[in-house]
């Protein structure tokens, strides 16, 4: 049997505990100790409490009231509160606008049509340019269009004005694209391509800017030139290579800004 220690007996004296009570009922030693404790504590005499009449509190109040300052209720500054609230709303609205603007910019950036510029760059380099007017010339497309023009020129009827005029227009269009391709070919140090494009450049220039217009004689001369220097064959080879080795046109292209 585990006896109650003195601390437990003191606890039981001030606050009766059922477990301690049961133990005391069975344990004579602990019961005797508890009786002694009870006797000692009950015998302690304390000075009697001095009488304080009903007016005691009032007398205390009289003695201290003069030294107490008047408490002031916290004043509500309605103007300041409203201004603060207005500023809060304005800040929240401004923040919302800024978020919306930023989100819009991000969305626009993410959905902007991809403008591919300047081919034969390492794919890790950025393929986009600032928002200038960009002429995108895909090499294989350019060569394809050039080939078709050369074919048409080769079989054109020199006396037919209806056939000559479209050739001139196409040549003007291709001339610009060809210059861009040449620029890039030089940058990429591709002499074969550069040489072919240079010859195309001269041909397109003659077609587009023939002094006095494209006369039948001029067409015939250009046809002879085309047949003699195998430019058409060379363009076909280059186009074939471009189509074989290039990724999709949009991913590898030649071009530039104008």
């Amino acid at each position: 049997m585990k006896h109650l220690n003195e601390e437990e007996l003191v606890e039981h004296y001030y606050k009766a505990d059922a477990r301690a009570e049961r133990h005391l009922a069975r344990c004579a030693a602990c019961a005797e100790a508890f009786v002694a404790l009870h006797s000692d504590l009950a015998a302690i005499e304390f000075p009697a409490l001095p009488n304080r009449d009903a007016a005691y509190g009032e007398r205390v109040w009289e003695s201290i009231s003069a030294s107490l300052p008047r408490l002031e209720a916290p004043k509500r500054n309605w103007l300041g509160w409203r201004l603060l609230r207005g500023l809060s709303y304005a800040s929240a609205f401004g923040l919302l606008l800024a978020c919306a603007f930023y989100a819009g910019r991000q969305w626009e950036h993410g959905h902007q049509p991809r403008v591919t510029v300047a081919a034969k760059q390492p794919q890790s380099q950025p393929a986009t340019r600032p928002p200038e007017r960009v002429v995108v010339v895909v090499l294989s497309d350019h060569l394809d269009r050039s080939e078709r023009l050369l074919v048409e020129l080769k079989h054109a009827d020199a006396d037919s004005e209806e056939m000559i005029k479209p050739l001139r227009d196409q040549a003007r269009s291709l001339l610009v694209a060809n210059q861009l391709c040449r620029r890039q070919a030089k940058k990429q140090d591709d002499p074969a391509l550069d040489a072919a494009l240079e010859r195309l450049d001269r041909l397109f220039d003659q077609l587009a800017n023939q002094p006095g217009g494209l006369t039948p004689a001029a067409i015939t001369r250009l046809q002879d030139q085309l047949n003699s220097d195998s430019l058409l064959f060379e363009v076909r080879v280059l186009r074939s290579k471009a189509m074989d080795h290039e990724p999709p046109a949009a991913a590898r292209s030649y071009g530039g800004t104008i």
Binding site: V10, A43, F46, G57, S65
Partner: protein
């Protein structure tokens, strides 16, 4: 322990709104209970009066921190206990306190120079002096804890809250006080 007046909260609100005179109602309502606990802890009527005034002054200064969900009576009671504890913790004038003897058996009658009340004159001078001396031999914390437990019938938790200590520390303080009191009052056991 002091119990709550129903309209204490309304009175506190009025005081905080600038009605200083309303505090007088709270002082009148709780003054007597504060005097009781102050006297029991200090054992001195004049000290108890000072403690009551000090407690109400402190309460007024801290009234803004009084939480409306609390009981004002309990709140001001605890302030009074702290004030009383401070009072008995402060070094007392040499002539107003009994010289503490270490050996209880050598403690003959060394009565404090207190204002004698008619009730005290009726008690046995020797017994009362020994008990008073035993009580004053406690540390201020033990004395306050024992008084709150033995006379004010406070629970351990209430003592801990009033003295600002942990419940276990309050329990230990009461236990040590009882041990010391019994030891110091052992000579009286033979005489009873």
């Amino acid at each position: 322990m002091v119990r709550m007046g129903k309209n204490d909260h309304a009175t506190v609100r009025a005081i905080l709104a600038g009605d200083k005179e309303a505090y007088g109602a709270l002082v009148a309502r709780h003054g007597a209970s504060l005097f009781r606990v102050a006297f029991r802890i200090t054992g001195n009527e004049a000290d108890a009066d000072d403690v009551v005034q000090d407690a109400f002054l402190r309460g007024y200064q801290k009234l803004e921190s009084f939480e409306s969900r609390s009981n004002f009576g309990t709140w001001i009671y605890r302030i009074a206990v702290r004030c009383a504890l401070d009072r008995i913790s402060a070094p007392r004038a040499a002539g107003s306190r009994v010289a503490e003897a270490s050996d209880p058996e050598q403690d003959e009658v060394q009565v404090a120079d207190r204002a004698a009340s008619p009730e005290r004159l009726l008690l046995s001078g020797e017994i009362l002096a020994l008990q008073d001396q035993a009580l004053r031999s406690l540390t201020p914390m033990e004395q306050a804890a024992f008084t709150l437990r033995h006379l004010e019938d406070c629970s351990t938790e209430e003592i801990a809250a009033a003295l600002g200590i942990a419940p276990n520390a309050a329990r230990q303080a009461v236990f040590r006080a009882v041990q010391k009191m019994r030891s110091r009052l052992a000579p009286l056991r033979m005489k009873r």
